[in-house]
């Protein structure tokens, strides 16, 4: 590996291929992610987004191609890659039987950090979970679980974070909270690779968006560049109606006290 500390992308993927038996999920995926940016990998269900994330986080081996994360090849330097990343999978991977605080302490210990208790308390405060810290996670709402999940990913300040469909199954309020967190992360210098099937989410968060379709990246660019791919905009006059999401958020806006109110995690997703 040649040292190119400044120009090097945080994530470099080239010619990535992966098949499950007869099914060619990835047929040569290429993209780069610049450091401290948010990159959205967009695609429909089964497009292979999770497969890409699993290869980048060393959970799966690619059949062909290279993937370099934070300067380390995932195939040959898996241990170094694991030091550099955190994965927040599609389903909130939190321990239901432990309390929120115990979950955070567990991860801090596994990352071999000093003073796991303080790390846990800081994150609980940052994610408005202090009041629920001692409760079993099985009593948390979907939004709280997801906040805890992301908080667990931040332990040890890994430079690269993978968020695999971070807002799937969340209600609109919880979704907005997650978006704010992700934006803050990138502002603080973390590189975020986000997968989503929610176009709105990609539009709001990502500096660059790539669309994964039938195993390849078919477009990759900023939102403005993507919009230029379409014919120039026509002017139409349309009455601006509030969306149901606007209505929902306006009615339930209660100062967002701790998110405890949103018990139902199945409500209002746009799948």
């Amino acid at each position: 590996m040649t040292a190119q500390p400044t120009a090097e992308p945080a994530i470099h993927v080239q010619g990535l291929e992966k098949s499950y038996k007869e099914l060619h999920v990835l047929r040569g995926v290429d993209f780069d992610v610049a450091p401290s940016s948010i990159f959205a990998l967009l695609g429909s269900n089964g497009a292979g987004k999770t497969t890409v994330v699993n290869i980048l986080s060393t959970l799966l081996k690619a059949d062909a191609g290279t993937a370099i994360v934070d300067g380390f090849d995932v195939a040959t330097r898996a241990t170094d890659v694991r030091e550099s990343i955190s994965l927040t999978g599609q389903f909130a991977a939190v321990d239901e039987i432990l309390s929120g605080r115990e979950n955070l302490v567990l991860i801090a210990r596994l990352r071999h950090l000093d003073d796991p208790g303080t790390i846990a308390d800081d994150l609980l405060a940052r994610f408005s979970l202090t009041d629920a810290a001692a409760r079993k996670v099985s009593t948390y709402s979907g939004g709280m679980r997801r906040r805890l999940d992301i908080a667990m990913s931040l332990i040890g300040n890994p430079p690269v974070i993978f968020l695999d469909e971070p807002t799937t199954g969340l209600d609109p309020q919880a979704r907005v909270e997650v978006w704010q967190t992700v934006k803050q992360l990138a502002e603080q210098g973390t590189t975020v690779l986000l997968t989503t099937q929610d176009l709105d989410e990609a539009e709001r968060l990502a500096e660059r968006i790539a669309i994964l379709h039938e195993g390849r990246i078919i477009v990759n660019g900023t939102l403005a560049e993507l919009k230029r791919l379409l014919p120039p905009a026509k002017i139409e006059y349309v009455e601006k109606q509030p969306t149901l999401e606007d209505v929902f958020l306006a009615i339930v806006a209660d100062g967002g006290k701790n998110g405890d109110a949103d018990n139902d995690r199945g409500v209002g997703t746009d799948e």
Partner: protein, 253 residues
């Protein structure tokens, strides 16, 4: 890479043990079935069974202990399956930890949970009149055989825990293990069984293990049974460990 193996295993074992202590119902469930069998056989069938022993509780306790282990490992498979399904395994595997400690933590907490169940069953047996004049060395030998048997069945339980598609599938494998002591010397002497059944009973692992434990507890010379018993336990342990590790490697790569 194994630099953190012991530390990581300790942290993860602590986690699994918390799961066990917070769901005491699982320990109670795994303990109730063997205790129910013990009550049934001692107080209902026992009067009609001629075991050639003065006390039927003394006669059947070794078999009951093996049933306790077999019903305990079904929860080992269940806990492992839950971890695989919930995505927390993926989280652990994407972290800079010694990967094999994730499995070892489950194995060690299984051992602790089952030893706790075994103690409960022995206490109940004492209340029901079980007595043994065995010395410390004999008890240690019994404990050693039971630990080895538990480790062997635990690694066996890792296989369905890793590969099952449903929670039921993960648990179901233990049913034949629970049933095996019935076709052995655990409840009745094998000499009363008809030809083919008797042959199966005498050559399956449970009989030699039961005989070895029974001889140790009743201060009889143990003979060759203890070596056959140890060979079975070590053999199952090694084969189950190898198969489990092959499946594990396949699952995480």
């Amino acid at each position: 890479m194994p630099t953190h193996f012991f530390g990581d295993t300790a942290v993860l074992t602590g986690r699994s043990l918390r799961h066990i202590t917070r769901s005491l119902d699982t320990i109670i469930t795994t303990t109730i079935m063997p205790i129910a069998f013990m009550l049934l056989f001692v107080f209902v069938f026992g009067g009609a069974i001629n075991s050639g022993s003065d006390s039927y509780v003394n006669y059947l306790l070794p078999g009951i202990l093996l049933i306790t282990v077999a019903s305990g490992v079904s929860y080992t498979a269940f806990r492992l399956f839950e971890d695989m399904k919930s995505g927390i395994f993926e989280r652990f595997h994407s972290m800079p930890i010694a990967r094999s400690s994730v499995l070892w933590a489950h194995v060690l907490s299984s051992l602790v949970a089952i030893l706790m169940s075994l103690v409960v069953v022995v206490l109940v047996a004492l209340v029901m009149g079980f007595r043994s004049g065995a010395g410390v060395v004999a008890w240690l030998a019994v404990a050693g055989i039971l630990i080895l048997f538990t480790l062997a069945l635990t690694w066996l339980a890792v296989i369905p825990g890793l590969s099952a598609k449903t929670a039921d599938g993960a648990v179901v494998f233990s049913y034949p293990l629970v049933f095996l002591p019935f076709i052995s010397s655990a409840f009745v002497p094998t000499s009363t069984m008809p030809g083919p059944v008797r042959v199966f009973a005498e050559y399956q692992p449970v009989t030699s293990i039961v005989n070895a434990i029974r001889d140790l507890l009743t201060q009889q010379p143990v003979g060759t049974d203890i070596w056959i018993a140890l060979a079975w336990c070590v053999g199952i342990l090694i084969v189950a460990y190898i198969v489990a590790m092959v499946i594990y490697r396949r699952r995480i790569s």
